[in-house]
Symmetry: none
Subunit: 214 residues, 4 copies
DNA sequence: CATGAATGAGAATTCATTCAT
DNA sequence: GATGAATGAATTCTCATTCAT
């Protein structure tokens, strides 16, 4: 039992070290030796914990996506109306980016590896995008049904757009790189969505009232 | 009397073939031999036209960014008011994605290579982002000054957000992959921005009136 | 608990094998694969011990020159008079050629590589030539001052000439190739130098008296 | 007929240009393109005049050795006694180095190529060395027979030694590189040989009397 | 378990040589 | 003849992965 825990702790430690290196040099330019060195262990030892280089990425992003899923569910549970849920979800997603900055910097590489991997390993990517897309589409439809969301928006395309915004913010972080940028972008995004999509008079959510009635 | 060849045309041709392969297999998994084969030429010939693999990417994306810059300038020239310019610019940017789909699919790899390149080659990336950011920031400020744009938006962060949306849409294309998605996302994005950022009563531009109101 | 290996011993072993191949095929025609095969190891393993092909040469000739330097110093320590030192030094140098035949055969390639190397690695060549030239020049001058050496010789040019003789003997070995040639050339060289440079009556040294006479 | 001459002139011109580049970069690092550029012609044109890269070397050194042979014969023709012939020959050989400096710098590469060439082309090298060795051996023997040359020298080994001196002086030039060095080395070499090998009282030759005696 | 020495498949790149114009 | 575009054989070098200790 303690063994288990030690092993798992070490795996996490190696994963963290690897992500750090991926972030600095990019996945493809990172050598297993770099990872081993960063983790302070021998080259062969990495293979005791991960099948191969791509596996590290996979495991790390499984953690990332699991946290995302969990947070998203919690967020949805806390809000009542569809419009509020929608806004809260977007807000959560962008805040998630801030919390997982280390992973975001490597996101593109994960994308690239997931997309071009030849072994047919399962990468969570397509699945979670599909899930989130369905979720958003449903929320928009419900929101429109109850008058929270402007009816002029096409639910599917708008869901795609929101996902794209999320992706874009993730990428942005890689470039601009200075802390705080994401947080402020998130605020603007929230304004944009509230103003642009949510019907006036419904723009209140638990994140904080933005517009108050008459 | 030697063989006369339009080197520039051939270069473009090889570049096109390379982009095709990059799109299919990803930049890092693409071998120079693949490119040569796709272009129907010998392996060594590729090196007659490009210094190395990354150079192909660089040249192709220079073309991409040049076209972007040109189109953006033209777009700005056609609109009058800052708000209209802003909307038109976003509209153009998203339409550019549609036109240059082949490049967008490889965008992430360009990102990755540009970011991690060890030789100190010049990649246009940072420069154009910086330029566009300044441009957008300026437009938002002007728009706010003349009442076109809601004053609650922070110009810099909002510029970043719009750039992120652009990046996100570019990426999206890689995943969803089916044509038309981008076009419909663009429409939703325009609605969102008009509704959310542009003051009511100013939401008309040459792209088409959306809300008139007396 | 990992595999323990005497890295230095293995390095020497690979170096030896490489020199053998260089000798047979010449440096430029030798492939890393040849060296690996000759050393009975894998291609990649060579790179664990040497940066590249030229590095092998460098390391091997560092050993050669170190031995030369050491031997030269010892030789000088054993002789008393300048003339005797001079003669003993030339004698040692030529005997060194015999001992290091394997290296001499590759000497020209070392020359060539050292001279044209593009990376700015340090090759010992210029340094040791410069050192030896100074040493010889000094000895000749001292010898002339004390009457051991004929005064008509210009010390610097004669030092150059003696170095050239050394180089020539090194090269010769490559061509003639049969053992023993060098040894006999050395004898003739000693006669020539004793007769030609050393004043009669001083032609005795510890290497063996040649002319005594009252 | 004029065609012939033009062709030959151009061939010489290309050869000269090639030697210049070989001298600067070394034979192996020189590309055919470098040679073409240095000669101011197209890459393919070089092949109109030379079979391949090694062929340029071969042709150029044929010219070098032809000149050597011719000069040696003339030199021998001018001297009378064996001792004088010997001295004159060595003197000529070293002066030849001075005259053909451009070739000497490339001598080692010629050596190397000649030694390791896989196609079984004829390189003059072994032949001329063998010829010169025989010639020198003969002269020494004759000189000893008539009392010109000290009897203690072994004719063959001494011939080898003299050849080695020649080789060494050729090499030296590559390193030291400053003009004049060779000329002064030659003077010292002549002193050494006259004093060391030639019997007193016979040390006069057409190059100039050195020792008269009372 | 941990390790790092060994490996060889694989990719980039070079460049002598050919040959259509 | 002259040329330089095209080529692919040849070589270097890298690095993920294995495995004996």
């Amino acid at each position: 039992m303690p063994k288990r825990i030690d092993r798992e702790a070490k795996r996490v430690e190696i994963g963290r070290a690897a992500m750090q290196v991926f972030r600095d040099k990019g996945f493809y330019r990172t050598k297993m030796a770099d990872i081993a060195q960063a983790a302070g262990i021998g080259k062969g030892t990495v293979y005791e914990y991960f099948r191969d280089k791509a596996h590290i990425l996979r495991v790390e992003f499984d953690r990332y996506f699991d946290a995302f899923r969990l947070g998203a569910m919690e967020t949805l549970g806390r809000a009542e109306a569809p419009g509020a849920k929608l806004v809260a979800l977007v807000d959560f997603a962008l805040s998630h980016v801030e919390e997982w900055r280390a992973h975001c910097s490597v996101y593109m590489d994960y994308f690239s590896v997931a997309r071009t991997d030849t072994k047919e390993e399962t990468f969570t990517l397509e699945e979670i995008y599909s899930d989130m897309r369905d979720l958003l589409t449903g929320l928009i439809r419900e929101g429109q049904a109850c008058g929270d969301v402007h009816p002029e928006f096409d639910s599917e395309s708008t869901a795609d757009l929101l996902l794209s915004m999320y992706d874009g913010v993730v990428m942005r972080d890689i470039f601009v790189g200075h802390l705080g940028g994401t947080s402020r972008m998130r605020e603007e995004a929230m304004k944009l969505i509230r103003n642009g999509m949510i019907a006036a008079g419904r723009r209140t959510d638990e994140t904080g009232a933005r517009e108050g009635g008459p």
